[in-house]
């Protein structure tokens, strides 16, 4: 079994974001980066699958600037066998189509049976990479998996549907699975495994050689929303009355509470 997991490094979401000089994306100055949360679920699921079959092999791939090597090393410390870095200082300017094309350019030659990705990235949130990749490779695709098992060449995945309902889908390998919160609890890289990861291979590939696709959609502008001050403050009356008002508002204006 050959397994690939695709990861992205994203800024700490608690950061203060500022537009870059061109106003095209956020500025990376003063930001701390970490592995995209959904990709952690993907790595964990891939490592679990890898551990079940000692003959299998698990590669982790990331497209991005030099800093993403840290995320790759973390994935290696979590249990991936080898890493592939596609250096691209301007990855943020590429659209999902281009990124997926680069990954597909690599995956085509890799004979992978299964590819895990996060459901979406926490920063861009397009949720396109997994499905695009499946399309480009002719793989089956299951998105937003919250449960996963494999029997022979058939993957079974549980999916969370709108409104909290669950669905179960079966897909023939080769397949792309995009991972959602709830799928698993990612392991912490242990100290001995951080050390062992230092000896694992990180191959460096050239993005231009993997794909020369042009963008289908470009980001025009990145800006903070204008403050509108539409927040609602409930005041006056006792706690019970306030709670009653809050429940009415939640029922009326949100989907948090129903009927």
């Amino acid at each position: 079994m050959k397994i690939l997991v695709c990861i992205k490094q994203i800024p700490d979401m608690a950061s203060k974001f500022k537009p870059n000089a061109a106003g095209s994306w956020f500025s990376e100055a003063d930001l701390a980066f970490r592995m995209n949360e959904y990709d952690e679920y993907a790595v964990e699921e891939a490592v679990k699958l890898r551990e079940k079959d000692p003959a299998s092999e698990l590669a982790v791939l990331s497209v991005g600037p030099a800093r993403v090597v840290e995320a790759l090393k973390k994935a290696l410390a979590m249990g991936c066998d080898r890493a592939v870095h596609v250096p691209d200082e301007e990855a943020y300017r590429k659209d999902p189509w281009q990124i997926a094309s680069i990954i597909a350019g690599y995956a085509k030659k890799g004979n992978f049976d299964i590819i895990f990705t996060g459901m979406q990235s926490q920063d861009r949130g397009s949720a396109q990479i997994g499905p695009l990749l499946a399309g480009m490779l002719g793989f089956s695709c299951v998105t937003t998996a919250i449960g996963f098992s494999l029997e022979g060449r058939t993957a079974t995945a549980k999916r969370e549907l709108e409104g909290g309902a669950k669905g179960v889908v079966k897909a023939a390998l080769p397949a792309v699975i995009t991972c959602q919160l709830g799928l698993n609890t990612p392991r912490y890289p242990t100290l001995p495994n951080i050390m062992k990861a230092k000896k694992k291979e990180i191959a460096v590939l050239n993005a231009a050689e993997l794909s020369s696709e042009a963008a289908l959609a470009g980001t025009e502008k990145f800006y903070a929303p204008v403050k509108k001050g539409t927040g609602l403050v409930l005041e006056g009356g006792d706690a019970a009355a306030l709670a009653g008002k809050l429940i009415d508002v939640l029922k009326e204006k949100t989907t948090v509470l129903r009927g």
Partner: protein, 379 residues
């Protein structure tokens, strides 16, 4: 010159931070109240490799560097200072002298059980009449055929109650002063070893601080650590490294208290404004943060020097002195920023304030650190 952590060190710090956030922080108050670190947590920390961070892989450790070890103790201590010293005393004061002064046979025999957390390590130096003055140790040893016989008492032994592996210091003849001291590797579950007392303390209440009596304790001759008569040197060199651990613990306590104080100052409102809008609170925060950063530079530098194998005794004394004083200062101000709530046990800064003080005392009081530093300057 480069002040950046390496990618591997950052991965380690973040991994430890995530672990601490989920596994230690939620039970830190309970550890303090119940005066014990739960066995399940020790098992989880062992699995994470916390008990063998910089010990070579050959002996069951992770084989990382001293810098990684400092980061580990710092991150753990941000949430729980008891766990910080639990790891630090075990690693710096027991595994470290074994690694530096042990024979290959001794290392292979004793280290794997320590690095796996199966046994918890400690150092037994202090006695009722020998604290700062290590050379006046009265616990005695006598050679008797293929073993040594040890008699005497020890006190204030961190991790003592775990009854794991101890590095014990005893004298051949008290009249010889520091030249009479030798170090022994002791299995503290052996007959002849009695735990006399568990101390009730101001802070780091999750750790065991035990008093021991040794009554004709038989130690096999092969358990002599280093050369006979070299105990004083072993103790001093061991404490050198240990100070980085305690400094990292202090840095963690300070960092933890600062984080809580900053957060609180943004949330608590008085006179219609958050506390952090008042300049006197802002200045406190600035002073606290600057002292933490000063201490951090010294701690990381000492760890870096240890990794570079250059003499770091002055730096380790300075980092322990400055970080511990930053910890007592910052925790005191953190309580102040919390006002009355800071005095209440429901708020973590109350515990941190109590935990901080010991870092100015153990592994050489700060007065002793000043002696070490000034000796290097004027001699």
């Amino acid at each position: 010159m480069n002040f950046e952590l390496t990618q591997d060190q950052k991965i380690l710090r973040d991994s430890v931070r995530d672990f601490v956030e989920k596994e230690i922080k939620p039970i830190a108050a309970k550890i303090d109240e119940e005066h014990r670190i739960p066995q399940e947590l020790t098992a989880k920390m062992a699995e994470m490799g916390f008990f063998g961070s910089y010990i070579p892989e050959k002996y069951g450790g992770a084989g990382l560097d001293a810098m990684s070890y400092a980061l580990l103790v710092e991150e753990v201590s941000k949430a729980c200072a008891s766990n910080g010293v639990y790891i630090s005393a075990h690693t710096s004061l027991c595994c470290d002298p074994l690694l530096n002064f042990g024979t290959e046979e001794q290392k292979l025999k004793w280290l794997p059980d320590l690095t796996s957390g199966k046994k918890i390590g400690c150092i037994l130096l202090t006695e009722s009449d020998a604290g700062s003055d290590v050379a006046s140790i009265a616990t005695s040893y006598k050679r008797d055929g293929d073993h040594f016989v040890i008699n005497g008492t020890k006190m204030f032994i961190t991790n003592g109650g775990c009854r794991g592996t101890g590095i014990l210091f005893a004298t051949k003849d008290k009249a010889l002063g520091h030249k009479g001291l030798s170090a022994f590797i002791v299995d503290l579950s052996s007959p002849g070893v009695t735990v006399m007392k568990e101390e009730n303390k101001m802070g780091i209440r999750g750790t065991s601080t035990a008093a021991f009596a040794f009554d004709n304790l038989k130690v096999p001759a092969e358990n002599l650590l280093g050369e006979e008569g070299k105990g004083f040197k072993i103790a001093m060199e061991t404490l050198n490294g240990g100070r980085i651990g305690i400094a990292a613990q202090a840095l963690g306590i300070a960092g933890g208290a600062f984080g809580r104080a900053l957060e609180y100052s943004k949330q608590r409102k008085q006179f219609g404004k958050p506390l952090c809008a008042f300049q006197s609170v802002q200045f406190k925060l600035a002073e606290m943060y600057a002292r933490i950063e000063q201490a951090k530079l010294l701690v990381y530098k000492a760890a870096w020097m240890k990794d570079a194998h250059v003499n770091y005794s002055t730096e380790s004394a300075m980092c322990k002195m400055c970080a511990s004083e930053a910890a007592t200062y910052v925790t005191k101000e953190a309580v102040q920023i919390h006002g009355g709530y800071g005095y209440i046990a429901d708020y973590e800064v109350e515990r941190m304030f109590r935990d901080a003080k010991i870092t100015e005392i153990y592994e050489g009081t700060n007065e002793m650190q000043r002696i070490v530093i000034s000796k290097a300057l004027v001699s």
